[in-house]
């Protein structure tokens, strides 16, 4: 069964700092990759997704992620964070040959941005 690992459980940084969150998955086949964000008191929202093509994908709110197939990784980045980026971030995968679109999530990374 596939699994998703997020390396950091908690990240604390100051405004304007750069953010990179690691995500690795274990699945031998082709996958669709997602990053979701959960702001305090809100529902999970899709930040960005990768299906195929350019491995560098751009999402909402200045986030981007890079798919490195050889490393089974899909790391999330933002060059300069804001206080409003305080949230929990989840990486998720769906095997491309899956019959449905069941998401397998990582454990999440809580990000706290200090003003």
């Amino acid at each position: 069964a596939q699994s998703v690992s997020q390396h950091n459980h908690h990240v604390i940084l100051s405004e304007a700092a750069s953010l990179e969150l690691g995500c690795n998955y274990s699945y031998g086949g082709t996958v669709n990759l997602f990053w979701y964000v959960q702001y305090p008191g809100q529902h999970l929202q899709l930040l960005l997704k990768y299906f195929s093509g350019d491995p560098l994908v751009k999402g909402i709110k200045g986030f981007e992620a890079e798919f490195i197939k050889s490393k089974f990784s899909f790391n999330l980045r933002k060059p300069s964070v804001q206080w409003s980026d305080t949230a929990e971030y989840f990486c998720a995968v769906i095997p491309i040959k899956a019959a449905g679109n069941k998401l397998t999530f990582g454990g999440g990374t809580r990000v706290l941005v200090k003003p």
Binding site: L44, F90, G100, N101, G108
Partner: protein, 117 residues
């Protein structure tokens, strides 16, 4: 455009009881998935419903069951509640397209926080 709505928002039950959680999908969506999110963990897939049938199931016991109605809304039922069932239960909806819908993004509701005493 209504998003995914779940009810109730909070629920407190005792061990051994039964609970029913409800979900209305985003307008235009026909597929509903349920996830369990324990404190400090990522969501875990319970099952998915399409055309009123369970199509996929995660690693959850038979105490967890569900239903989808003709209007695409869905219920999650949990019997014989255990302390370990305390979690945030998330509903997600999407549009199924053809035989491979793995690229259809899922839209999540706010969840139902279930506490077992």
């Amino acid at each position: 455009d209504a998003g995914v709505t779940q009810s109730p928002t909070h629920l407190i039950k005792t061990r051994g009881q039964q609970v029913t959680l409800r979900c209305s999908p985003k307008s235009g969506h026909d597929t509903v998935s349920w996830y369990q999110q324990a404190l400090g963990q990522g969501p875990q897939f319970i099952f998915q419903y399409y055309e009123e049938e369970e199509r996929q199931r995660g690693n959850f016991p038979d105490r967890f069951s569900g239903h989808q109605f003709p209007n695409y809304s869905s219920e999650l039922n949990v019997n014989a509640l255990l302390l370990g069932d305390s979690a945030l239960y998330l509903c997600a909806s999407s549009l199924r397209s053809g035989t491979g819908n793995s690229n259809q993004p899922q839209h999540f509701g706010d969840g139902t926080r279930l506490s077992i005493l």
